[in-house]
């Protein structure tokens, strides 16, 4: 049968009503961003000094993004792709105009009336910014025109080829990014002696100078066009590699990362080390929550309680100023007790929630989190926990020399395991052994031996390492210690995921009743998840207590749990490297609830952003940024099934065609 001819493509209409709606939303977003003070705060950071500041970039990107997205159509199987044309530009322009009108009305309103009592962040400075230096009336008109123009540009992005488009977008993104991380780049350049480059690129107003911006844009554009295809190809080849080789590569990468992490703090300044230490702590707790939420599927909103238990146990055991019990142990002597208390706390929280459904589980764990904070804060137990004043002088000068010996011991064991693995891989190659589960490959073996040797060397030959007096002031040492624990936690998480327990969790996560019918002990699995999660969080709490030197019950609010949840979800639930990336990106750039990140301007708005990020991720990509293939399949089941069905239909149709051709030939 001849294939049906496609119908003549209709002339594309400009979607006027849709543009009005989108324009109103875009305008409202711009007004919102102005009213909360984002535009004004970010005006301090220039992206192409003196023309463009980050505040303006935010407003522009709202219009441009909306102008682009309004014409973006999802192309499904069998549909003809929409023809780009003038209508895209028109839609974008109209949308931009409407949005500009909204913003202009806002400007006129706040210019004429003093609304500072209600909207406290609408300052005269903001009004100046929005007026673009032309007075309220002129500014309003300019906003309408500019809005239309930017919207049109956004729509026009449809008219250029995808590669150029990608190049332009990459260029813009890189300009903004470089402008934002100017602090890091600047300090590295200065440390390395390239101060002249620093002052060329960046201005005193903390941003890029416009010649530099142009350079960065062109450079990024060129690089994108040259390498874009190749990067995707490399990713594809990586995925296509066989499992053992991927593991090998991952192992080597992790080792390299750890080594870099140990060495780099010397190069970074103290501020960056602080930020990285925070990142490390959140990574640690993220790994713990990843076990509870990602592996076992239990939404624990009161996770901060375990963090508090770890911190308070450490404080009570190591501080000479602990009000009640005061054994004044060394930090590493206290760690086993921390783990013990955490396990008990995990059991206390886990037991009542064993049979509760997902929503109730979340709220009850939230309740436990608040109960923990209230208990630590109460006057009732002031004799033990110090009440609202907290406990001071934690771990000051009390951390003694145990660590060097531990390091040597661990190093020996690691090296031994590495030798054994290497030997196994030789025997497998020779055919003497069947392939074993787990990573027995030469690369892994060599990595392990190398790590073991490094540990032994560090423990024996570097006296600083062996006599670690880590106080909160020494940011380098704190960061290194955090890094070691993060490495341990990652290893534990990784092994857990591959183990029987990990598989039991996976089954339980998908369908609890079926899992229990299959013989999995759901009770044990859940309790184990809580206990392990609690232990990881408590180690984080212990490090936190030592890093800060004092702890107050107000540090353990629910908002911490939610931040960690956002990290786990953004990175990818159940994915160890996802959590690492999530922590790095979110806490490193935006900052935690109390700690600032690299971008200081975000301080005021980061919690707002966290909320937005969470909503956005859940709506668009609930599996996170770096999910496992299984997780993607779980969450997009319908799409996967649909694709699979279409493929089978195509297969059937192809067969039918082939057969009918054969018949015709006869």
């Amino acid at each position: 049968m001849p294939a049906a001819t496609p119908a003549a493509l209709p002339v594309e209409q400009v979607p006027w009503m849709k543009a009005v709606r989108w324009g109103l939303v875009a305008g409202a977003t711009a007004v919102f961003l102005s009213a909360i003070g984002l535009v004004e705060t970010f005006d301090a950071r220039k992206v192409a000094d003196p023309f463009l500041s980050l505040g303006y970039v935010f407003l522009i990107s709202v219009a441009a993004l909306a102008g682009y997205l309004i014409s973006k159509r999802q192309v499904l199987e069998g549909m003809a792709p929409p023809q780009p044309g003038r209508h895209n530009v028109m839609a974008g322009a109209f949308l931009g105009m409407v949005g500009g009108v909204v913003l202009a009305v806002f400007l006129l309103a706040v210019g004429s009336f003093d609304v500072r009592e209600i909207l406290i962040n609408v300052s005269p400075n903001l009004i100046d910014l929005l007026s673009l230096g032309m007075g309220t009336g002129g500014g309003a008109a300019a906003l309408v025109v500019l809005g239309a123009a930017v919207g049109a540009l956004g729509g026009a992005l449809h008219l250029i080829g995808p590669r150029t488009r990608s190049g332009i977008v990459t260029g813009i993104v890189w300009v903004v990014v470089v402008g934002l991380i100017e602090l890091v780049i600047g300090s590295i350049l200065r440390e390395v002696g390239l101060g002249a480059v620093d002052s060329f690129f960046f201005t005193d107003l903390r941003g890029l100078a416009w010649p530099a911006a142009l350079l960065v844009f062109l450079g990024a554009f060129a690089l994108d066009r040259a390498f874009n295809g190749r990067l995707k190809g490399a990713a594809g080849r990586f995925q296509a590699m066989s499992e053992p080789r991927r593991r090998q590569a991952g192992f080597i990468f992790a080792t390299a990362l750890l080594a870099a992490g140990m060495g780099l703090p010397a190069v970074f300044g103290p501020f960056i080390n602080e930020v990285l230490a925070s990142v490390g702590l959140f990574m640690l707790m993220g790994l713990g929550l990843n076990v509870v939420v990602g592996f076992a599927g239990l939404l624990d909103l009161g996770y901060v309680a375990f963090f508090a238990v770890g911190a308070y146990t450490t404080a009570v055991l190591t501080s000479p100023q602990s009000p009640g019990l005061s054994p004044e142990m060394a930090f590493f002597e206290a760690i086993p007790f921390v783990l013990l208390m955490a396990a008990i706390a995990g059991l206390i929280v886990g037991t009542p929630v064993i049979r509760m459904r997902g929503d109730y589980l979340a709220i009850v764990t939230l309740a436990f989190g608040e109960i923990a904070r209230l208990i630590f804060q109460a006057d009732w137990l002031k004799g033990a926990f110090g009440g609202a004043q907290g406990i001071l002088q934690i771990g000051q000068g009390q951390i003694r020399t145990l660590f060097g010996y531990v390091l040597v011991g661990v190093g020996c064991v690691t090296a031994l395991v590495g030798v054994l693995r290497w030997r196994d891989s030789i025997r497998m190659d020779r055919g003497e052994m069947r392939s074993l589960p787990g990573s027995s490959s030469k690369g892994v073996g060599i990595s392990l031996v190398a790590m073991g040797a490094a540990a032994i060397t560090a423990g024996m030959f570097f006296p600083d390492f062996a006599s670690w007096t880590v106080t909160g002031i020494d940011s380098q040492a704190v960061f290194r210690m955090v890094l070691v624990f993060v490495g341990l936690a990652s290893f534990v998480s990784w092994r857990l995921q591959e183990s029987r327990v990990g598989r039991a969790w996976m089954a339980m996560r998908e369908d609890e009743q079926v899992a229990s019918s299959m013989g999995i002990n759901v009770v044990t699995a859940k309790l184990l998840a809580f206990v392990i999660g609690a232990m990881l969080a408590s180690v984080g709490g212990a490090l936190f207590a030592v890093k800060l030197g004092t702890i107050f019950p107000s540090s353990f609010k629910i908002v911490q749990s939610i931040i960690i949840l956002v990290i786990v979800i953004v990175g990818g639930m159940g994915s160890v490297r996802g959590v690492a990336i999530g922590a790095l990106v979110l806490v490193g750039i935006l900052g935690g609830p109390t700690q600032p990140g690299l971008l200081r301007e975000f301080q005021e708005f980061k919690l707002l952003l966290y909320g937005v990020i969470l909503i956005f991720m859940m709506l668009q990509r609930p599996e996170g940024l770096l999910p496992s293939a299984r997780r993607s399949r779980e969450l997009h089941q319908e799409e996967f099934l649909q694709d699979a069905w279409i493929k089978t239909q195509e297969g059937v149709a192809a067969e039918a065609d082939a057969r009918s051709e054969d018949e015709e030939d006869d």
Binding site: F32, T351, G358, D359, E370, A378, D379, W380, P622
Partner: protein, 429 residues
């Protein structure tokens, strides 16, 4: 060969070590909770009789205050209950819907105060502020549904829950960004409301009476609407089975929007009343009341509107009386009572032993718990309990904890709540 196994049906649910311990431990927890609750209650009564309790007027104030707060919890709980009934997940952002209503109430009442209307024509001003608050909350609730929840109707239940957490966060910090993080003080109430009014022989503060009356009126209006009107019927139908309701010709989307709107309106009313009663609102005002209102909804039986109100009032009164009740623990247990309890514990032990012979695998853990903790309980009752008392300083700090403990307790002891769930207890499809 006869298969002996067929003669006595064995349950396929194995009672293994961990399950047994967990069940036994849970049993012990429940018993302990009930024991301490009973002790505080009996102790409070005993102390009162002894003359060591708080005065009559203090009780009256506590209970009335608890009622007022409880009715507000009930209004907020209605929103939680309705959304859970219709969509099957907890709308975490509902507490923030309540908060926006409170903020709106502040702004409107402040404006009315500035033009003098607040004092000169208070009833009208009150109504205007009330309606504004309800309107703002309704709009916010409907927007939330449209933006965040509509596209997630078919998603696994964890996803909308996490989205609602994000939405709650976003609302809190959006309000903070727009209006600042300071406490907003609502204008002073007219003196008529600050004085005590005499009703049925009781002297109650005028404002608390207003709160209670407004809440009851709103609740009655809502109940009439849900029971009598078409939309109300539609809501109940969608709550029972969304797909079949759709097949029956009900516009499911519109019904869901109405659900959120009504819940939002009630929360807005509660926000207005809260602002009036406590005279302070800020961007985090919704967090604790939100959790407590959810506790109230669970206490009453989630999905059940009357239950939500009942749960709210109960929780409010328990919270208000809580610190006083906790003082009841200072009443030393008389020896005869301790011995009686000891005998009771021993009896429980024996009962557990007898039940163990039934070989009911599902109750094995509970039975084991009865035995073990019966013995332990008897030992404690006979040795440590006579004359024992517990002194907890700073009980008013622990007031918030009462709601949390109630939540955990209800979900452990009677998860369906006081009035039982209207919907199936098991997994909803």
């Amino acid at each position: 060969m006869t298969n002996r196994r067929n003669s006595m049906p064995t349950l396929s649910l194995a009672a293994d070590g961990p399950t047994l311990s967990v069940d036994a431990f849970l049993f012990a927890l429940k018993v302990m909770l009930l024991f301490f609750a009973a002790w505080s209650l009996v102790g409070t009564v005993a102390l009162q009789i002894d003359g060591r309790g708080i005065t009559g007027p203090a009780w009256r104030d506590a209970i009335v205050g608890g009622l007022a707060q409880g009715f507000m919890y009930g209004l907020i709980a209605l929103g939680y209950s309705m959304v859970y009934g219709v969509l099957g997940f907890i709308n975490f952002a509902h507490g923030e819907v309540f908060m926006t209503g409170g903020m709106a109430a502040y702004f409107v009442s402040d404006a009315l105060f500035d033009v003098g209307m607040w004092e000169s024509a208070f009833p009208a001003a009150f109504l205007i502020a009330l309606i504004s608050a309800a309107l703002v909350s309704t709009v916010v609730a409907v927007l939330i549904e449209r933006v965040a929840y509509r596209s997630l109707r078919a998603a696994p239940r964890l996803i909308p829950l996490i989205t609602s957490i994000g939405m709650s966060f976003f609302l809190q910090y959006a309000v903070r960004g727009l209006f600042g993080d300071g406490f907003k003080t609502v204008p002073v109430l007219p003196t008529a409301l600050q004085d005590r009014v005499s009703i049925f022989g009781l002297e109650i503060e005028g404002i608390k009476l207003l709160v209670i009356v407004t809440a009851i009126v709103s609740m009655v209006g809502l109940w009439l609407f849900v029971e009598r009107s078409r939309t109300g019927r539609a809501i109940r139908a969608v709550a029972e089975d969304k797909e079949i309701a759709g097949l029956m010709g009900i516009d499911v989307n519109r019904t869901v929007v109405m659900t959120f709107a009504i819940g939002g309106a009630m929360a807005g009313v509660a926000g207005m009343l809260w602002a009036m009663l406590f005279r302070k609102v800020y961007f985090l005002s919704g967090f604790l009341p939100g959790i407590k209102a959810f506790t109230a909804a669970v206490l009453g039986g989630i999905g059940n509107l009357i239950g939500a109100m009942l749960g709210g009032v109960t929780l409010g009164v328990v919270e208000a009386a809580g610190p006083t009740l906790l003082q009841g623990l200072t009443w030393s247990v008389p020896t005869w009572l301790a011995y009686a309890l000891g005998v009771g514990a021993a009896a429980m032990s024996v009962l557990g032993l007898l039940r163990l012979r039934e070989r009911d695998a599902r109750r094995a853990g509970t039975n084991l718990g009865m035995i073990v903790f019966g013995v332990i309980g008897a030992l404690i009752a006979f040795t440590k309990l006579p004359g024992a008392d517990v002194y907890i300083p700073g009980t008013s700090q622990l007031k918030d904890m009462i709601a949390f403990v109630v939540l955990i307790g209800v979900l452990m002891i009677r998860p369906v709540g006081l009035l039982g769930e209207r919907l199936a207890v098991e997994e909803r499809g």
